[in-house]
């Protein structure tokens, strides 16, 4: 018992220090924060595309611009809220105009939208390629094999609202089951294992396309739109806090193919951070486009970000 007490007495101040450490806004940590503020990046862990882009951006900011970086994994709602409040500095995972539309509509005055960092996203109803239909309007004819269920994701996601619209537009006799990204992927894995029929709300880019043979159901009425992009959003404080980071983010654009290379390295067992570093080493040209040599850490004096 006495032994425990002793440990506890040591742990408490350590824990308090730990709490103070990463928050540069707190009084008392000013001197430490003055060097270079930590850049906090929000991303959605369950969406593997976000893991790839967040780690890539983190590696650039850490290694080329010299800022400490903290990656914070959250659900999309808190991620948007965090950027709007300035608790997070940025996210490169804003799916517009579709999946994250609800958040953007609510918070667009409180974040800065730097525009797309990746074009060519897509959402829609997805089935394994052994499912014998090709169009959304054929769904009613195979209702029994699919048990009248569309397996969905998080209730607030734009893809869910679009699917409700599709159910109405095509007169589908289906219920949309709410779950989460991880549960949807688990259901797909289970169906694939036994070659059972399933229809899910799916999107690109996602690792499921590399793992299984899947297809989008054609959408003649265009409910799901023509495909969208992933945007970069930053907090309104970031330009004052770290202008070099903003300059980099404005230039940061890559392609689904490039993102796929990072996702594949992660799927093969590499850590996301290592995969991002490796990708950067192999692609000096892209990096030079995003971060011109003049912006490298050696030329930017500490604190230079304070005067935009």
């Amino acid at each position: 018992m006495r032994h425990r007490n002793w440990i506890a007495r040591l742990m408490l101040p350590a824990a308090l220090l730990g709490l103070l450490g990463p928050w540069p806004g707190l009084p008392g940590t000013r001197a430490w924060a003055a060097e270079r503020p930590t850049i906090r990046i929000g991303y959605v862990q369950s969406w593997s595309s976000n893991v790839a882009s967040a780690n890539l951006v983190a590696a650039v900011i850490r290694e080329r611009l010299g800022y400490p970086v903290q990656l914070v994994s959250l659900d999309p709602g808190p991620m948007w809220q965090g950027v709007a409040q300035g608790d997070l500095d940025l996210s490169v995972s804003a799916w517009l105009p579709t999946t994250h539309q609800a958040y953007y509509a609510k918070l667009w005055t409180k974040v800065i939208n730097l525009g797309p960092n990746l074009y060519g996203t897509r959402i829609g109803l997805v089935v394994p390629d052994y499912v014998g239909i090709d169009r959304i309007d054929q769904l009613n004819t195979v209702k029994n094999r699919l048990r009248g269920r569309i397996i969905g994701i998080d209730p607030g996601a734009g893809i869910m609202m679009k699917t409700q619209a599709a159910i109405k537009a095509y007169g589908l006799d289906y219920t949309l089951v709410q779950s989460s990204g991880a549960a949807m992927a688990a259901m797909l894995a289970r169906a694939e294992r036994h070659h059972r029929w399933i229809v899910i709300t799916g999107w690109t880019p996602h690792w499921m396309w590399a793992r299984w043979k899947l297809k989008y159901l054609r959408d003649p009425k265009g409910v799901y739109g023509r495909g969208g992009h992933i945007n970069t959003i930053i907090s309104t404080q970031l330009p004052d806090k770290a202008m070099p980071v903003v300059r980099f983010l404005k230039r940061f654009v890559w392609t689904p193919g490039q993102m796929n290379q990072v996702m594949m390295m992660v799927r093969k067992g590499m850590s996301p951070a290592a995969a991002a570093r490796k990708w950067l080493q192999r692609h000096p040209r892209e990096v030079a486009d995003w971060v011109p040599a003049s912006a490298h850490m050696q030329s930017g004096a500490p604190g230079s970000g304070r005067s935009p």
Partner: protein, 287 residues
């Protein structure tokens, strides 16, 4: 933030993760049909219970729960139950509240059916007790998401994995407290009943269980509370009810509707807490 390269302390790596994965895959490959049947049977039971609860008109249900709370925990609890449930109804959450009640009650029925015998066994045998304890620790502290996803793969989405994960999370306190309650029955009481020639079953039913009842009811109470705390997590695998409303509210950044649904969970928790706690206390008073 990422951990650096780790130095191996052992000359080999223990493949814990791949064992777990193989176990799940083995179950998926070889026991798919039994899991489907079990899942369907359990679904029928839960759906029947929920249907029955939903069929009761709201005023009647509110009155009944109010009476139950009043009978078991006094006038104030009864009035709170009626007022709180009226508020839940007023917020347009009645259907979700009853759905959640059905989910929690189904899980609790399973908890009782499995947990009571296990608790009794653990009280009778130190070996069982020692074997169960690490299992119970595992069930209580393993983060729910770890077994939620395998549960989805085995049982699909919806009510069944929701009830099963709630069951796993909330059974340990009942087993522990049943075990404890029976072990704390004074030895002279048990000896006396044995001296009068009672079989062990008679001793159990007439002496040990009645004396241990307050402790067992505390276990029931705890497991219901834990069950309610699983409601939101279970909604992530599509089990519906108030958890769904909470998730919908927070994922759409609608703080108000998320709070309303959360409040309904609290009301339901307090009502169930007073009812089950009251039963244990009443029994103790009567002795």
């Amino acid at each position: 933030m990422s951990a650096g390269p780790t130095q191996a302390l052992l000359p080999f790596s223990v493949p814990v993760g791949s064992w777990a994965e193989h176990a799940v895959n083995f179950l998926l490959d070889h026991y798919d049909a039994p899991f489907q049947h079990f899942s369907a049977a359990l679904y029928a039971m839960i759906a029947a219970l929920q249907g029955a609860l939903l069929a009761v008109p709201a005023p009647l249900m509110i009155g009944l729960l109010g009476l139950l709370a009043g009978w078991s925990a006094g006038l104030r609890a009864g009035l709170f139950a009626i007022g709180g449930l009226l508020l839940a109804h007023n917020m347009g959450l009645w259907h979700s509240t009853v759905t959640t009640l059905g989910l929690v009650v189904s899980a609790e029925v399973l908890v009782l059916v499995v947990g009571l015998p296990l608790g009794i066994l653990a009280a009778r045998s130190d070996l069982v007790d020692r074997g169960l304890r690490p299992m119970l620790d595992l069930m209580q502290t393993m983060p729910a998401f770890v077994y939620l996803i395998p549960a989805v793969m085995l049982f699909g989405l919806g009510l069944v994995p929701g009830v099963i994960s709630t069951f796993i999370f909330s059974i340990p306190p009942l087993i522990r407290l049943t075990n404890l309650g029976i072990r704390q029955v004074p030895a002279d009481l048990v000896e006396a009943s044995e001296a009068f020639g009672a079989t062990w079953l008679q001793t159990l039913a007439k002496v040990q269980l009645p004396v241990a009842l307050p402790s067992i009811m505390a276990g029931v109470n705890q497991s219901i509370m834990l069950g309610l705390s699983m409601v939101v997590i279970a909604a992530m695998i599509g089990s519906g009810g108030l958890g769904k409303e909470v998730l919908e509210g927070i994922t759409r950044l609608q703080v108000g509707s998320g709070f309303e649904a959360g409040l309904a969970v609290v009301i339901l928790a307090i009502v169930l807490d007073r009812i089950t706690q009251g039963i244990g206390v009443r029994k103790r008073r009567r002795r």
